[in-house]
């Protein structure tokens, strides 16, 4: 079904607000058949709202949806499917208890209004769909037993099976390895060759550049840039997404001189993960730690917090020796630890800003009788709102009323609420879009300026250079080199790691 004529699918001047907050204000976008179009933007820029409008989940307040030669003021979910608009959501929307074959074939039965189902027909429909995208998966297995990459292919097979003309893929590469991404891209190219208009939603700039022909960038519900991919470099894209020049600014704060180090490690050993690690961090200092996967960096972070068994060595916090291997003692000494992913998935979306702010250190707001007086909570909330410059009129508003960047501040404030002297952040910006990343780094800088010490464990070399005073590299469980602020540069660090 390769179409010879180019068809165009577009939205014009779409406006959508949720309870006064404008999610989309006059968005227009056009995708032609046989094209991979990138829809880029930070969290909260309106990408998801636009996708949901196209899937028929939301109806726009005004605007026009044009699919080939038909025009719609809005779509119902059924209409969307009938007109060939398919969305692959981030969670794939597959049913784990049914087989891959059934997951692929069920929508076909429902679409055809069948009342009965036969195993043979199901397998046939599914096999054809799988063959169509040119992959090989065992479709007789339940979806709960196949890998994430295969789940995604099942979702694609399902979407493409129903005569898809316009396919939305919402952040399809998030959970995939590089090898799997390559296979996904092959599949996308196949679909493209069959004349499907694909919309690839992502904020990973290198992938966007690899697969997309055209691009639309959203920011705060408006189109801020669009055009051919070849006219955009990484810098232009990130600038359009954030409205700032984020890739090159150095933002590490000036170091405060202090006589007493916040933490001193001497000869910490925990075989086989690492051995003989010694370093110290001064108040307001940001120390970066990097190393390859399996070098022992995560174990080191967990060991300082008492979660990973240390065999020998000594840790002093504020000059006082700290008992080892006890998270409780570490917390008491003023060490905070934020594991990976926590900064990206840390919000209770339907709760108020205040409740989100106080969610982590609830114990510290207790009255003598164990109750939680509202006064204590709102005091703490107001303090963090002013200290982290969260822009809101009322802390009782739902956290979703905040912009993406401000939401990020709330997430971080939660972890700072226990007021640690040393904050250990493990991979704080993994999976975060460029704009939110900048927010996170800026907040870290602000806190460091106020005297908090940081141990920042990260893979992201540019980020370490941007914010750290010193960076140590770990190789096979030992410190291989220490870079001072003036020595920090990308090539040197990469060379040291590999």
């Amino acid at each position: 079904m390769i179409s010879t004529t180019t068809l165009s699918y577009s939205v014009e001047n779409i406006v959508k607000s949720f309870g006064g907050a404008k999610a989309l204000s006059g968005v227009s976008m056009s995708v032609s058949s046989g094209e991979v179009h990138c829809l880029a933007g930070e969290n909260g820029s309106g990408k998801s709202t636009l996708i949901k409008i196209m899937a028929g989940v939301h109806s726009p307040d005004s605007g026009l949806i044009r699919l080939a030669d038909k025009e719609f003021p809005q779509l119902s979910p059924r209409q969307a499917v009938q007109e060939g608009v398919q969305v692959i959501f981030q969670d794939f929307s597959l049913l784990p208890n049914l087989t891959a074959a059934e997951n692929i074939a069920l929508p076909t039965y429902i679409y055809e209004n069948s009342k009965f189902i036969s195993k043979r027909a199901t397998l046939k429909i599914a096999q054809e769909a799988i063959d169509l995208i040119g992959v090989d998966i065992d479709i007789t297995l339940p979806v709960s037993e196949i890998s994430i990459a295969s789940k995604q292919l099942v979702a694609i097979a399902r979407a493409t099976n129903l005569g898809v003309k316009m396919l939305f893929m919402d952040e399809p590469t998030t959970a995939l390895t590089r090898k799997e991404i390559n296979r996904l891209f092959e599949v996308i190219n196949q679909i493209k060759a069959r004349g499907v208009a694909t919309v690839f939603v992502s904020h990973k700039i290198d992938e966007i550049q690899e697969i997309c022909n055209t691009i639309t960038v959203l920011r705060n519900g408006e189109v801020v840039a669009d055009g051919l991919m070849k006219n955009f470099g990484p810098k232009e894209i990130s600038q359009a997404m954030t409205g700032q020049d984020v890739l090159t600014t150095f933002i590490s704060p000036p170091l405060i001189s202090a006589s007493q180090n916040v933490i001193e490690l001497s000869c910490i050993t925990a075989k086989p993960a690492f051995s003989d690690i010694s370093f110290s961090i001064a108040p307001g200092e940001i120390l970066g730690v990097t190393g390859l996967l399996g070098s022992g960096r995560t174990e080191l972070a967990e060991a300082i917090f008492g979660k990973y068994q240390i065999e020998s060595g000594e840790i002093k916090v504020d000059g006082v020796k700290m008992p080892l291997n006890s998270p409780k003692a570490a917390l008491k000494a003023g060490i905070g630890y934020v594991p990976p992913d926590r900064l990206t998935q840390g919000l209770f979306l339907d709760q108020s800003i205040l409740r989100n702010l106080v969610a982590v250190g609830l114990d510290s707001y207790k009255s003598r009788w164990g109750a939680l007086p509202q006064k204590n909570l709102s005091q703490a909330g107001d303090k963090w709102i002013s200290e982290l410059k969260i822009k809101t009129k009322n802390s009782a508003n739902p956290v979703t009323s905040l912009s993406g960047g401000n939401q990020q501040r709330v997430v971080l404030a939660k972890w700072f609420a226990t007021n640690p002297h040393l904050m250990i952040l493990n991979g704080p910006t993994v999976g975060v879009d460029v704009g939110s990343k900048r927010e996170i780094l800026e907040i870290i800088r602000d806190r460091a300026n106020a005297g908090m010490a940081f141990l920042l464990i990260s893979d992201d070399i540019p980020e370490l250079i941007q914010i750290c005073h010193r960076v140590i590299t770990i190789k096979n469980g030992r410190i291989s080199k220490e870079f001072s602020e003036s020595e920090l540069n990308e090539t040197q660090l990469y060379k040291e790691l590999n």
Partner: protein, 339 residues
């Protein structure tokens, strides 16, 4: 399907449990391996199996129904009361059965309104309606025991398919119900596996949001499920009345433990999404076999309920352990993917 997978299935485990249990009891008392005992177990399983098939559908859909015993006795008792009040044909078996099924569907409809219409969690909704139904029955329909049930129903209690006297002199009887109950069992299995409605029930148990995105109406599916369960319960209720040869509005209440235990032991996941008719049949047989024969092992009958409770807990524990192992395997697989 390979052998190890077969071993991991609940049905296989249950078959082994049944065999071992039979051997243990059989070695203690030779009566166990007689046709009379087998037919007795079957006879005591009919009503429970009908209830269990309904509960199976609800549990697969990710819900739970605790109102079914009350719906059953409400339908059975009310059908008898209506027969008496309006002097309907005493001889007929069809009239009371149809009446009971219709009443069951109507009561199931109220559950459907509470669950699909108002979105009340299934346990709370059916717990509430169970109380309401019982109260309504006792205050408006009757609170007295009816010992002379219509002749048609009464005769049916002794309608035997096979009847002979064994060498030992005991009367061996296989009730004719074995045929309709087998047909209904096969029909429910067909419904669950071969119809879009049945697959929607599984889909619903797998995830509500994903099911909605498939274009399946959640409310309509739920409404159908609870009305179907109501109908099955009504049928079970009138058969119970017939087999007991009396209609007491106080009966059946409390029997939900046995039925839910049988369904869960049969491998239906209490979290929804999984369960088979075959497993449920085995679960019901196992529970009844145990209840009927614990006495032969010298266990006092007052311990029967506790034994069923233990089985329910064991069944759910096995599920939980399996679930843990599975998620561990998945995590491991995911980690290996990433390396």
């Amino acid at each position: 399907m390979n052998f190890r997978k077969l071993l991991r299935r609940n049905e296989t485990v249950l078959i082994f449990a049944i065999i071992i249990f039979s051997l243990v009891i059989g070695s203690r008392s030779p009566e166990f391996f007689t046709a009379a005992n087998l037919f007795d177990i079957l006879r005591s399983s009919f009503v429970q199996l009908l209830f269990a098939l309904g509960v199976l559908i609800v549990i697969i859909s990710g819900g739970i129904d605790v109102s079914f015993p009350i719906v059953g006795i409400f339908a059975g008792y009310t059908a008898v009361v209506i027969m008496r009040k309006y002097d309907l044909n005493e001889e007929s078996l069809l009239i009371p059965v149809v009446l009971a099924i219709v009443i069951g569907v109507i009561l199931g409809g109220f559950n459907a309104i509470a669950i699909a219409g108002f979105g009340i969690p299934t346990l709370i909704a059916t717990l509430g309606t169970a109380g309401i139904f019982r109260g309504l029955m006792l205050s408006f329909i009757g609170a007295t025991f009816i010992s002379n049930i219509p002749v048609g129903l009464d005769n049916f209690s002794t309608a035997d398919l096979i009847k002979f006297e064994s060498d030992a002199g005991t009367l061996v009887r296989l009730h004719v119900l074995v045929i309709p109950v087998a047909i209904i069992t096969v029909a429910v299995s067909y419904l669950l596996n071969r119809t879009i409605f049945g697959r929607s029930v599984y889909a619903l148990g797998g995830g509500i949001e994903s099911t909605r995105r498939l274009g399946i109406s959640i409310k309509r599916t739920q409404a159908k499920i609870y009305m179907l369960v109501g109908g099955l319960s009504g049928l079970a209720g009138i058969i119970y009345v017939s087999l007991q040869r009396k209609a007491s509005p106080y009966d059946l209440a409390g029997s939900e433990l046995d039925v839910i235990a049988a369904v869960v032991l049969g491998g239906a996941s209490i979290m929804g999404g999984y369960g088979t008719v075959f497993g449920t049949v085995l679960g019901v047989l196992f529970i009844n076999m145990m209840k009927n024969n614990l006495v032969l092992l010298g266990v006092s009958s007052s311990w029967q309920r506790a034994a069923v409770g233990v089985l329910l807990v064991i069944g759910i524990t096995i599920q939980a352990i399996g679930e843990n192992r599975k998620s561990k395997r998945e995590r491991l697989a995911a980690d290996q993917d990433k390396e």
